[in-house]
Point group: C5
Chain length 98, copies 5
């Protein structure tokens, strides 16, 4: 999994029921210490993440389908958790967004 920070939302019509009522979140991918990188992923939100929050992104189709509970869902990247604490190389990084 990778770290991401919720940067915004993407509005699009996808004609598959798994996307009804689900938000697509633009997530900036972060480095190991929580800094921004140039890369991003557009993720299905499975946890109710808000703007600025640091999240865990699982980028794998079969696992993402398990998270949304639909073995046929056309989906790959999904937010599976909000990061509460990030302890890297002995120091605690503040990852509470806002």
């Amino acid at each position: 999994m990778k770290l991401g920070r919720v940067a915004g939302t993407v509005v699009s019509t996808i004609s598959h029921p798994i996307y009804d009522g689900r938000r697509l979140l633009m997530c900036d991918l972060l480095s190991a210490d929580g800094a921004d990188t140039e890369d991003y992923l557009i993720c299905v939100d499975a946890v109710g993440a808000g703007a600025g929050e640091v999240v865990l992104i699982l980028d794998e189709g079969n696992g993402a389908r398990q998270i949304v509970g639909d073995p046929d869902a056309p989906i790959r990247a999904v937010i599976v958790g909000i990061v509460d604490e990030l302890l890297v190389d002995g120091s605690l990084h503040d990852v509470t967004g806002g």
Copy 2:
């Protein structure tokens, strides 16, 4: 998923029925704020996207097979939606092509 902009079409004969009557679109991959990158993907069009439009690209085989409704299709990247609105870091990016 990633953002792409439809840049053109690729004409090729692929001897599998899933490609009969389907367009292959050359899509420039975009950054999180909608700017061009150097990378691209050739995608199967599932939504009727036109030149210049900003689209959502799902790049995963099993999900793509669900979108085209054929569990055996030799396919990986597919356009699943046209982006109507892109709200990143509090500002609305104009992604209407033309």
Copy 3:
């Protein structure tokens, strides 16, 4: 899918029947306008592509297995078509090799 140009052949003994009588082609990966990049893929040839030709490469295991008609084949990258025409940003790129 990505664009590639057939640059040569790789001779190796792979002890799986799917490789009997099949050529492994060294393909340079191309940019969206058909220029060479530094990257490559070694692909199974499913279309009879020749040296210098521009081809479509599908780089996904399950799709590649469908192309060669063997659900158990140890294979990932396969040439699925020869590109006849590449129309990008309104101009036609000459991709006929030789």
Copy 4:
């Protein structure tokens, strides 16, 4: 597989039973001779790896699901072994962390 070095832990609530009682480890990806790179992966720990140890990372969903013994687990990167010895280009690299 790739080499990683355990750099820390990530605390997050993931609502899937496979994550109950399992640690998520922040792993710096290493070069072939054991040096740090800029990249990382957040991995499920299947071997009891400790901070500073050099580990083997398998980054593939179906294989990871076998390691944790749950065919439906939403998981992709998993630590499958602690590296005891790394012999590259004829010299033994010290990979014992601490």
Copy 5:
């Protein structure tokens, strides 16, 4: 598939029967003309490759599982062949290691 050169061995204990008695080889990834790159993969050896030899690497879970004959193996990168000859852009590259 990609080209690799066997650079060394990795010693680690992986608690899955598929790894009993199998060597894990550190393989430098090569460019299309056989030159070293900065990247590598740790591969399961399925052909008895020796140090310095140029090999074909298949980096795909389901195909790798077919090669080792275990549909549940936690495995992704596997050496499927030793390269006998590499003919690129009309010239034969010497890839016999030593």
